[in-house]
């Protein structure tokens, strides 16, 4: 019952958020000086051609009509047609979003799998060599620009050592798998092509590592700090005094409590991933949302920009919902109150 009480209002909220976002993006898109018709027909298009293109795209109608049409289509799941590529925006997003998600999810996983133990050990062996190493790593991760780090990694592993590919999702000799999930790691396996799967793994290594590294620093630092706090709590002292094994104290009592503040952090990290993905995708020629959004903004491709914003806002609301659910599972107190 309590879960439903959290989820239902969220879905009502989701509706308002999407509607609000649609209004705001639509307004901003139409306030930006610049004429999409000119971007499409060319700078030096004649007035007549511009008029024709405008009519063709429905840009000649009153702004209010355009908005009504947009919202009506949105309700039917139609995000409009990209001005630039002439493809349905929904199809474009379906093409590019899985690539970004694959990159983002694996990076997050990597950041958590490395960052959490690193933070824990850093706290347990405070001021020891492990702590020093962990702190160095986390400072580097936080302060090193993704762009620069990406280039260094490509230079080393692709150009010098030549052991890993530096761009794309799959080696050129492989045909992309039929889209089922859009995740090449899964789709190649579904087709039973292990060599293509391996190629997809190899292509993921460098970009996910670069993207994970930035988040790794934040996670390590957060876990270390909350672990240190928790380890000084009375109940840990009590547990120690009662003769519980050190391992059990750390993993069953301390870590569980230290993780709770990190849940919010994970939510934020997921949001950051999209931002970091823009840079990572550019460096590694990764065909994801990042490049798509940037080109859409540059060419004033309104339907594409708005489609992306709407999808992203839905994503954010869902992430927030997940975080709240995670809190509930992690902290019985919240479960009872909720």
């Amino acid at each position: 019952m309590t879960i439903a009480r959290i989820i239902v209002p969220r879905f009502i909220l989701l509706f308002f958020v999407v509607f609000g976002v649609a209004i705001i993006t639509f307004t901003i898109s139409h306030l930006i000086p610049g004429d999409p018709a000119r971007m499409i027909a060319g700078d030096r298009a004649s007035a007549e051609t511009l008029e024709n293109v405008r009519r063709d795209l429905g840009l000649d109608r009153p702004v209010t009509d355009q908005f009504v049409i947009y919202v009506r289509n949105l309700v039917h799941g139609d995000l409009g047609t990209s001005l630039r590529t002439r493809r349905p925006v929904a199809a474009d997003i379906a093409t590019f979003l899985p690539a970004t998600l694959e990159l983002g999810c694996i990076s997050l996983l990597l950041a958590v799998l490395i960052g959490v133990p690193l933070g824990v050990f850093s706290a347990i062996y405070k001021d020891g060599p492990i702590d020093q190493i962990a702190r160095t790593i986390s400072v580097c991760g936080i302060s090193m620009p993704v762009f620069w780090f990406g280039m260094v990694v490509i230079l080393l592993f692709y150009a010098k050592l030549q052991i890993l590919p530096g761009s794309g999702r799959l080696a050129m000799e492989f045909v992309s798998p039929q889209r089922v999930t859009g995740f090449f790691l899964i789709d190649t396996l579904l087709e039973g092509r292990f060599d293509a799967f391996l190629s997809a793994v190899r292509h993921l290594i460098l970009p996910t590592f670069v993207l994970a590294f930035a988040n790794l620093g934040v996670i390590t630092r957060q876990i270390r700090a909350s672990m240190l706090d928790v380890l000084q709590e009375d109940y840990i002292r009590t547990a120690r005094a009662s003769g519980l094994r050190r391992r059990a104290i750390i993993f069953n009592h301390a870590l569980r409590n230290a993780l709770i503040p990190s849940i919010t952090l994970l939510g934020l990290a997921m949001g950051d991933l999209l931002y970091g993905a823009v840079l990572t995708e550019t460096i590694f020629a990764w065909p994801g949302m990042g490049t798509y959004v940037v080109t859409s903004i540059q060419t004033l491709d309104f339907p594409a920009i708005m489609g992306f914003t709407v999808v992203a806002s839905i994503g954010y609301v869902l992430i927030n919902l997940l975080i709240d659910l995670a809190y509930m599972l992690a902290d019985p107190q919240i479960r009872e109150v909720g």
């Binding site: 002439r86 493809r87 460096i283």
Partner: protein, 513 residues
């Protein structure tokens, strides 16, 4: 728990890394790496050079540029003639050309292609302002009827938009879109290649068109890979994963020249970079103020310093390499004293102007800084205003600026592309006359030059108009840029044509071992 899964990830990474690294593409496959995905491949819609790469590879035109020149020679056309009024062009088609589905290229296909282009009216059709009708005379003869004489007509038949499209594409029409959605990502032409697959923002594969009438190309496949970051493209080229890379900045070009297996292609282009002076706004409406500014620019400094020598100073509006260029024409040079005296003569002091630019061209900001320093010497204060590129274009089109940099390349090889666009008051604003320049004498000259077919006569008129307009200094003529890209030395047979930037003669290119 945490540790065991970490170990698994580590193992997977090691396993994957142990497979060997890069592999060079086969000698019959050419890989081209470029910064952006072409928007579409539809000749009726596409206006970017990046899209032209696909269109010229997949379609043939009635005429084509001869080798590296700006002259045209027959391609699908066998011969042509024009009547005495200069209004009716009759074109005979050559036999034997076939679309990629095997059907012949005939007069009906030519008519279909032009009807479609004019009906779409989406940008590329602007090259045919006076084309009224295309008539099928017999299966291999077409007539083009113009509403007014248009001298550059033959040259316009070579533009990307004039590609001849297989009428069968109409089978793919949805919602009366003239097959626009389908042609955006597919091709239906009689050129040497056709699009085999297109993965957005990733790669486009071109395969040989088995029905191509010419000799079978040596390259079985051309792969265009999208790679936004220039350093990444460069590494791919050096490692041999790419055979050609585009959009190489001048500093990177210098570094690449040191690589023995790489050839840096740097050819004079028809791409000019100039600055619009708003002729309608005081004090720039005073010709002496504009001339003073033109004399205050350090042209050599821009060519050598900002462009590192990969450019030359413009001389007049028509660039070097196109007929109508005047190698002995008047050209402003850096002369501070002359600039100062012109300003004094105009009775102007305390001038405060704004230079509105975007990052669309990397040289615009340093050029702005150079102008700022130069103009300070003659007492003009110049503010730099950086805006988004779409904003800059809109401001320039509406005449909402003092000084703004611009770039221009011709669509077809005729001085018309410069003279009639830049100086005719009928094209003020976005269409071309972005300086809002209006000189009745010049207007008469360029309009007359566009309406007659006799080239020597036209040249004379254009030269006169050029001299007059240069003296009026409506624009600052800065530089004519080199077109730079880099290829592996193993790639042979490429012919540079200044009209076809980012377009390659793939059918005649090959790769050595």
């Amino acid at each position: 728990m945490v540790f065991s899964s970490w170990k698994k990830v580590g193992l997977a990474l090691l396993l994957a890394a142990s497979v060997s690294g890069s592999a060079m593409a086969a000698t019959d496959v050419l890989v081209l790496a470029r910064a952006e995905d072409p928007p579409t491949a539809d000749p009726g819609v596409e206006i970017s050079n990046s899209g032209y790469t696909l269109i010229y590879a997949a379609y043939e035109h009635l005429v084509a540029y001869k080798g590296g020149t700006t002259e045209v020679e027959p391609e699908l056309a066998e011969s042509w003639s024009v009547d005495a009024t200069n209004l009716v062009w009759t074109i005979k088609l050559a036999a034997g050309h076939k679309f990629d589905d095997g059907s012949p290229v005939d007069a009906a296909a030519v008519k279909f292609s032009f009807d479609r282009l004019l009906k779409l009216k989406a940008g590329p059709s602007d090259s045919f302002p006076v084309l009224q009708e295309v008539q099928v005379i017999d299966p291999m003869t077409v007539k083009f009827i113009l509403s007014a004489p248009f001298a550059p007509f033959l040259s316009t038949l070579a533009v990307s938009g004039a590609a001849i499209v297989n009428p069968k594409v109409m089978e793919h029409e949805v919602d009366a879109d003239m097959a626009k959605a389908w042609l955006a990502e597919h091709t239906a032409g009689s050129g040497p290649y056709k699009i085999a697959s297109w993965e957005r923002n990733q790669s486009i594969v071109l395969d040989r068109n088995t029905h191509f009438s010419g000799p079978a190309p040596s390259l079985r496949q051309v792969i265009i890979r999208v790679m936004g970051e220039v350093s990444a493209r460069r590494l791919q080229l050096v490692n041999g994963d790419a055979d050609i890379i585009e959009q190489v900045p001048v500093d990177q070009a210098e570094a690449l020249k040191k690589e023995p297996a790489i050839v840096v292609e740097s050819n004079p282009s028809l791409y000019v970079s100039y600055v619009y002076l708003n002729n309608k706004r005081p004090p720039l409406d005073d010709v002496r103020v504009r001339q003073a500014i033109a004399y205050a620019v350090d042209y050599k400094g821009i060519v050598d310093g900002i462009m590192q020598g990969q450019a030359e100073q413009m001389r007049g509006a028509v660039p070097d390499g196109m007929w109508g260029h005047d190698p002995s024409g008047f050209q402003y040079s850096y002369d501070i004293e002359k600039a100062k005296s012109l300003l004094k003569e105009a009775g102007q002091s305390n001038i405060h102007l704004t230079y509105t630019f975007s990052q669309a061209d990397t040289s615009w900001e340093p050029v702005g800084l150079a102008l700022q320093a130069s103009l300070a010497e003659i007492g003009i204060k110049l503010d730099l205003q950086a805006v988004a590129d779409t904003t800059k274009r809109e401001m320039a089109a509406k005449g909402n600026y003092d000084l703004a940099p611009g770039a221009w390349t011709p669509d077809f090889a005729d001085p018309y592309m410069f003279m009639n666009y830049w100086f005719d008051p009928a094209r003020m604003g976005g269409p071309g006359n972005r300086a809002f320049y209006d000189n009745a004498k010049v207007t008469d000259l360029v309009r007359e030059a566009a309406s007659i077919v006799d080239q020597p006569k036209r040249e004379k008129l254009y030269l006169e108009a050029q001299t007059l307009s240069t003296q009026d200094a409506p624009y600052l003529y800065l530089i004519q840029k080199n077109d730079i890209f880099a290829r592996r030395a193993a790639v042979e047979g490429y012919v540079y044509n200044p009209m076809l930037i980012q377009v390659y003669n793939f059918a005649k290119m090959s790769k050595k071992d």
